[in-house]
Amino acid sequence: MRVRLRYTKLGKVRFTSHRDVARLWERALRRAGLPVASTQGFAPRPRLHFGLALSTGHESLAEYLDVDLRDDAAGDVDLAALPAVLTPLLPPGLTVEAAGVSEAGEASLQQAVTQCTWWLDLPGSDPSWLVAEAARLLAAERLPVQRERKGRQVVDDLRPGILDLSVLGPATPVAPERGGPTGDGCIRLEAVLATQPRGIRPSELMGVFSPARPDPVHEGGRVVRARQVISAGGATREPLGLPGAATPAPHAVARAS
């Protein structure tokens, strides 16, 4: 059985890397005593499937992890209790908010997710400049950038991957009790960026502003992944919604208190 977990990454813990978080999860799942299935072979590893990587220093309200449980023991696992069991075994800032079953045959997280909503808290920005720039970028036909791919310089067009940009105004606190962004002195830009066929990172988006801006976290700002979305056949949904959330969330069965 494949279990899907949804968790946050907020505050100090955002400075851990994707790899660090993977190792934290391995230890937490062992401590919880969950019957995690192992890979075959010489050096068995727990069968964990992580979603899209989050850059070190960025935060998230919606990270996902799929865990394969051993079929012989999966029935004993109380999914509803999982968030409350796992959160204390993780460092502060990694909070499990929902657990559900991932249907058999479903695409992996990395393949399924098509777009992410980002909040970019930009310090010391002029809101009218931001609004004008957002409009300019959305109106542009092409936004070519140089990228390195397999050791070669290539030119990619970012424009198709920028699905929406909106300036939300002065940034408001996000989960301050967990160390999330305070919003102090920042303007919040909401960006919906595609993850396929080739994803756009928030730092790349800042690079096509005029003048180009660095990754907001490099100048004291914050970047939060607010949502990950699967868009298929005209409908959109989250990989696993929050229990009690307004959006339909077919798989969610629990939320951490």
Partner: protein, 651 residues
């Protein structure tokens, strides 16, 4: 406001590996720094990933935090990128636990595990905003302290340290805390600093460098003497008699980011009496004190449950010597069967087939590489260094390893040892080729990695009088070996930079005059000298020259029996005449047996402190006579003193 996090946070996005600085480890404690508690900032003067696993620091962290009158947090040397930003933004050295500035604590206590970190110690003191030299500090400044193996010759850092702890820290940190708590309660008056330092010098195991005068005659050091009658002439190390009374760490820190030795570590015994003459750790940590097997089992079981680690290391200087190691290993493996698989590693493997048997039992899944340390290429050379492994012992171990499915061997050697000839050096190549040959009987392409380090003599070893090989000589020997192994398939040669060995040599047996050199190297940007990309030998050679100090005098000349050594006013319990006679035996190629299983030869470590070996078995471990000298006989050495060194503890 004491919390530096809001100012640190924006800088972290701009540095490499920012997770080094965030704390949050499972097992972390946020210290309550009240007026009645003595605050210790336990500092490892290297990066977080090197320093976090340090067991000594973690043990003291817990012991101090358990005390009502003490509180401890941790700091690590910030890497150069963050250091530059901290200096630019006026941020001081901080604790990773609650991100408080170093000066919020009463003691800045360093762990000294290696000499090349000395410039980092100065950098941390300076980053903390504390005056560099002890003499310049005011009553309100934190005390700067050090412990760890390098403190057996702390003289190069003497001017920068307020006090130094020799030996096991478990008990003595409490005694120091009590003196400091009283000092704090008294209000730390403007002239109180020398008084509290003098008070500290009365605690056994505590050395206060400023309480001693150093006398030179020309270039020669002739005496280090106490300035007051109540200050001890010789500072003796501290030794805890019973490891069972100190089951620490109880809650080993689990880091969020990858560190070295990233696993559960359980110390199974402290001390070693194999008597390898090059090995400072073995000399200064005597006698052997085993942890009871039941306590080991409990610490492993609870540690695995608490941390989620799937690997546990049973640590010591030679874990296969632990009484009943087979039973303990079997129990650990059996205990995990019902829960989660745990792999067990023995970091210091003895060179024999028995050890390979245990290792094979342990690593059922990941059977990749095994490491042995024959240390020298010929039997003659190994008699000199008292590492009494015969070629047959090594071949037996290697054969057993290949036969059991291991594919890669790693062999550690030293070069630049006393009396070493080119034949000894080339013996390393011969051993490596023979091991590959043995491997071919079992695999198509066996691999042997030979790792060669330049020997650096250390204080309180029989080799403390030996003149270290020059950089040129070490490089020549490594070159010989390279040429010899050039066409040997299956053998990879790796070596330690001889220039780094030279600098290690300057610091390891230096006196107080070397302090100015360390300061100058630090002032010229020479931090993180143990990192090859940062190491710069010219900084050191220039600083030595600038201060009129001779590298040859400090490092390369053989020292005389009658000369005053910079650490003669300190003691690891070992009699100087024992070390001298062991040095003469070495030159005569005479081995010395392991005193756990043979009569005491009165090195001084047990008798001087009225303590004994704590071992659960009066006979050598199964198959474990190899390397202990048994069966090889002793020539020309007469044991002195009574055989008081052994006690059978039936557990």
């Amino acid at each position: 406001m004491d919390d530096l996090w809001p100012r640190l946070e924006p800088l972290l996005a701009r540095v490499s590996k920012p997770a080094r600085y965030i704390g949050l480890e499972d097992g972390m404690v946020r210290a309550d720094l009240g007026p009645r508690t003595v605050g210790w900032l336990l500092t490892y003067p290297d990066t977080y990933e090197v320093g976090l696993p340090n067991q000594g620091l973690q043990i003291l962290y817990e012991i101090l935090d358990e005390r009502p009158d003490a509180a401890a947090e941790r700091a690590y040397a910030p890497w150069v990128d963050l250091e530059a930003l901290m200096r630019e933004h006026g941020l001081p050295l901080f604790s990773v636990d609650s991100h408080r500035p170093a000066t919020a604590f009463d003691v800045l206590a360093f762990n000294l595990s290696a000499e090349l970190v000395y410039t980092n110690v100065l950098n941390c003191i300076d980053l903390a905003g504390i005056p560099l030299r002890s003499a310049e500090r005011a009553a309100t400044d934190p005390l700067v302290a050090a412990g760890g193996h390098c403190t057996y010759n702390p003289e190069p850092l003497a001017d920068f340290l307020d006090f130094v702890v020799l030996g096991d820290g478990e008990a003595v940190v409490g005694e120091i805390t009590e003196v400091l708590a009283e000092w704090k309660a008294s209000g730390r008056g403007p002239d109180s600093r020398p008084h509290v330092l003098r008070e500290l010098s009365h605690i056994p195991g505590v050395y206060v460098p400023s309480m001693y005068d150093v006398v030179y005659e020309g270039a020669d050091l002739v005496a280090v003497t106490p300035r007051y009658p109540d200050v001890p002439e010789v500072v003796e190390k501290r030794t805890i008699a019973d490891l069972a009374a100190w089951p620490y760490p109880k809650r080993q820190l689990v880091p969020l980011t990858e560190v070295v030795h990233d696993r559960l570590n359980v110390e199974v015994f402290r001390g070693c009496t194999r008597g390898c003459r090059f090995c400072q750790a073995g000399m200064i940590t005597r006698p052997v004190r085993e942890r009871p097997a039941d306590q080991v089992r409990t610490m492993v079981a609870e540690g695995v449950r608490r941390t989620g680690y799937d690997e546990v290391a049973l640590t010591s200087l030679s874990t296969a010597d632990y009484s009943g190691i087979e039973d303990v290993v079997r129990d650990v493996i059996a205990a995990d069967a019902c829960t989660q698989p745990v792999s067990v590693s023995l970091p210091s493997l003895r060179v024999d087939a028995f050890t390979v048997g245990i290792a094979t039992e342990l690593q059922r899944a990941r059977r990749t590489g095994l490491t042995f340390a024959p240390e020298a290429g010929t039997w003659r050379m190994r008699r000199v260094i008292n590492k009494l492994i015969s070629d047959e012992d090594l071949y037996g171990a290697v054969e057993a390893a290949y036969a059991n499915g291991w594919r890669r061997m790693k062999l550690y050697f030293l070069t630049g040892l006393p009396t070493e000839t080119d034949e000894d050096t080339l013996g390393i190549g011969r051993l490596a080729r023979d091991c590959v040959e043995i491997g071919r009987r079992y695999h198509r392409s066996p691999s042997v990695t030979v790792s060669v380090g330049g020997f650096v003599p250390k204080a309180f070893t029989p080799f403390q009088w030996f003149g270290q090989n020059t950089v040129g000589e070490l490089a020549r020997k490594i070159g010989l070996l390279r040429d010899d192994l050039r066409h040997s398939r299956g053998v990879q040669l790796k070596w330690h930079d001889p220039k780094a060995s030279l600098v290690e040599g300057i610091a390891s047996r230096g006196d107080r005059r070397i302090g100015a050199v360390i300061e100058e190297v630090w002032r010229r940007g020479g931090t993180f000298q143990e990192w090859s990309e940062r190491f710069d030998v010219d900084l050191w050679l220039d600083a030595m020259a600038a201060h009129g100090l001779s590298v040859d005098w400090y490092v390369h000349r053989h020292r005389r029996e009658d000369e005053t050594l910079p650490w003669d006013h300190l003691s690891a319990g070992l009699h100087k005449d024992f070390l001298w006679s062991d040095w003469r035996d070495a030159l005569d190629e005479v081995g010395l047996e392991d005193c756990r299983w043979t009569p005491c030869y009165d090195c001084g470590a047990c008798t001087g402190y009225g303590i004994e070996h704590v071992v659960a078995s009066t006979s050598p471990p199964a198959g474990g006579s190899q390397g202990t000298g048994q069966g090889h006989g002793r020539v020309g050495v007469v044991a002195v003193g009574l055989p008081t060194g052994l006690r059978a503890v039936g557990r």
